[in-house]
């Protein structure tokens, strides 16, 4: 697969601008005043396309995007923008045979803003969707991802983290196993501070005849303050016996023993908590196979812990 890397940027400003030149692959996006729609279509499997999303607009960003990743193609989207006036993304993706889509979102939202992210993605045979999403800030944050593993050996690996001070956040993840021999692995972590109310609802659905299914789902939350809340709903809907599915959920306060250990080494309470949270979130940064993005994710965590 793709040896050559092509880096380009999509800049949201008064209009939408594309920096970098594409060969066979196509990006068609139109709009103004924060309202953009269009498509990204990959047909060239000889290069790996990296698309950076950059926000320079004063408007709330409403993005409606269709993504089609052709056979053997590799698409990576990186979004490290801060949407000061909020955002509303609607993405529909289709991965064709043997393709890969990596989506990184490392956002620090304006605490006053309202953001939503809606992603529906269908995977064909041997496709991989890797989804890593960290968010901080926002007054309201709604995220919903529906992944359909439609053919053999389709796989999904993803992790999400919400770190907030006073956010109403709802994260919904639905993974549909619609073919045999598909795999999914999802982890969600959250640190709920202040008056945050964070909900994670994860559903793993395994259809009839989907034998050789493997699925794991982990959700963990830290309730840091008096008024903070975390609701975890890890659901399984299994309609076949040839499956190995496991899910785990845990929420609570940080482990006092660990905090005490750190403090006994002379570290202040604040720093001890910071280290604790870094470790807590860092656990699944390991799942990011892309070195550059793994580093960025670590930096991101350090900056917000």
């Amino acid at each position: 697969m793709s040896e050559k890397i092509l880096n380009c940027s999509l800049i949201f400003s008064d209009v939408i601008e594309l920096e970098g030149s594409l060969t066979k692959n196509k990006i068609n996006l139109k709009g103004e005043q924060g309202n953009f729609d269009g498509s990204i279509k990959l047909t060239d499997s000889t290069e790996r396309l990296i698309v950076n999303l950059i926000n320079k607009s004063d408007f709330k960003i409403n993005l409606s995007l269709n993504i089609d990743v052709g056979p053997n193609c590799f698409l990576e989207i990186r979004d490290e923008s801060n949407y000061d006036n909020g955002s509303e993304f609607k993405i529909e993706s289709k991965l064709n045979k043997d393709s890969i889509f990596e989506l990184f979102r490392l956002n620090k939202f304006n605490p006053e803003s309202v953001n939503s992210f809606n992603h529906k993605i269908d995977l064909s045979g041997n496709c991989e969707f890797r989804d890593f999403n960290f968010s901080n800030g926002s007054q309201e944050m709604n995220s919903k991802t529906i992944i359909s593993l439609k053919e053999k050996n389709a796989s999904y690996i993803g992790s999400g983290a919400v770190i907030s001070n006073s956010t109403n956040a709802k994260n919904e993840l639905i993974i549909n196993h619609l073919s045999k021999s598909a795999k999914s692995d999802c982890s969600f972590k959250t640190v709920s501070r202040g008056k945050s109310n964070i909900t994670f609802s994860g559903m793993v659905f395994v259809d009839k005849d989907c034998s050789d299914t493997e699925s794991t789902q982990i959700s963990k939350g830290l309730v840091m303050d008096e008024e903070a809340r975390i609701n975890l709903i890890p659901m399984l809907d299994i309609n076949n016996d040839d499956v190995v599915c496991a899910h785990g959920a845990a929420s609570g306060k940080p482990d006092e023993n660990i905090l005490f250990y750190l403090k006994s080494r002379g570290i202040s309470k604040e720093d001890a908590e910071k280290i604790y949270i870094e470790g807590f979130l860092g656990e699944f940064v390991d799942k990011i196979s892309n070195d550059e993005m793994q580093k960025k994710a670590f930096n991101y965590i350090t900056s917000i812990s």
Binding site: K208, D209, S211, G221, V223, M224, D225, E226, E227, A228, R229, I230, N231, L232, I233, P234, M235, L236, D237, I238, N239, N240, D241, D242, V243, V244, C245, A246, H247, G248, A249, A250, S251, G252, K253
Partner: protein, 480 residues
Amino acid sequence: MNKVSKDNFQQDKYKYGFVTDIESDKIPKGLNEDVIRLISKKKEEPQWMLDWRLKAYERLQHMEPPKWVKAKFDDIDFQDIYYYASPKDFKDKPKSLDEVDPKLLETYEKLGIPLKEQKVLAGVAVDAVFDSVSVATTFKDKLDEIGVIFCPISEAIRKHPDLVKKYLGTVIPVTDHYYATLNSAVFSDGSFVYIPKGVKCPMELSTYFRINASETGQFERTLIVADEGSYVSYLEGCTAPMRDENQLHAANVELVALDNAEIKYSTVQNWYPGDENGVGGIYNFVTKRGLCKGVNSKISWTQVETGSAITWKYPSCILRGDNSTGEFYSVAITNNYQQADTGTKMIHLGKNTKSRIISKGISAGKSSNTYRGLVSFNKRAKNAKNYTQCDSLLVGGKCSAHTIPLTENGSNDSSIEHEATTSKISDEQLFYVMQRGLDAEAAQGLIVNGFCKEVLQKLPMEFAVEAQKLVNISLEGSVG
């Protein structure tokens, strides 16, 4: 060798499916004020009880049956049910067993619950409920001596009105939901237990519910109050004849544990599950809730659910007292077209409250098995802890397992832990055990019993063996 195929469960022989040939006295079909007045009159209830029922009925007029259960069934025609049935000429509860119709004694004998003094199960006091009435209670004198009240609730309403008034409806409000409200309006019989301060009840208390009459619903009501520092272990068993109609069983069970008291409530539910084509069987829509009212109190639910066409229940604990503990241990086996949607709610209100949930679901045939649970930590529930483990085992490719656990953590000084797995019986395990000479069926029974072990061993000893056998019977014919 043929590869071990896990096909449909064959219809296991439901050995409790017989009908007792006894004439029954029924109140006309239908749900209306007159029916409620008649039930109250039959039970010779005081006015306050009738008023309570009518209030519930009034509320019911403004309610709809809930629909969110993960089960498919046709709407129930609540006007097409007999709400009260008793053996004919059964006016008051017989004073002694000599007065009980021998056919009834024979029925319980056949169910493995002998009521005659010389044969009673040692260490277990039994209240036998037949359709809408209690027919006998054993070991009454012995319990009287230590002040333990164990009697039909209809008797308690007459003899211990203050206790009943004080606690009835305090855990499950009359207005809770449709079926609970329906029960409050039309409940017939069930057991009442009161354990006085400081008394550790020396024997298991047990109620055996039997539906016999056709087209009849059973609406039992059970209330157990454990006063300060007391302890009781209570067990209910249930069976019904094989019929091709669906019969409704909508019970309310309320438990109250005061300071330092402990209630252990076990259920072995084996209502008729319907036949292999999903015809007939009991709709088991039950509301069970315990209130840990006092400090250091503890309520523990253990259930083995193998019967019923549809099981829809969530034995729950409200942990109000500081340091109180709630436990839920469940095995639910579904087979053929059975549907189960069961689990628990643990509502943590007090400080240092703890709860533990162990649920084992086994689905076979074309059945559907759902674990649904809620663990909720109130802001005040400092240092609260919960541990949940729910495992599902699937036998055959046509059944389904669903897990819907909801955790709400609003306490920053607490921990909720939830683990769940779904798997099938491994071929390696089956092969290993078969290599030692056990046939496929016995091998599967052994492994499934192991899977359920953690829950089965929570049952009172007298019933654990019985429950183990029940698990095996449910598995008979499931491998070919």
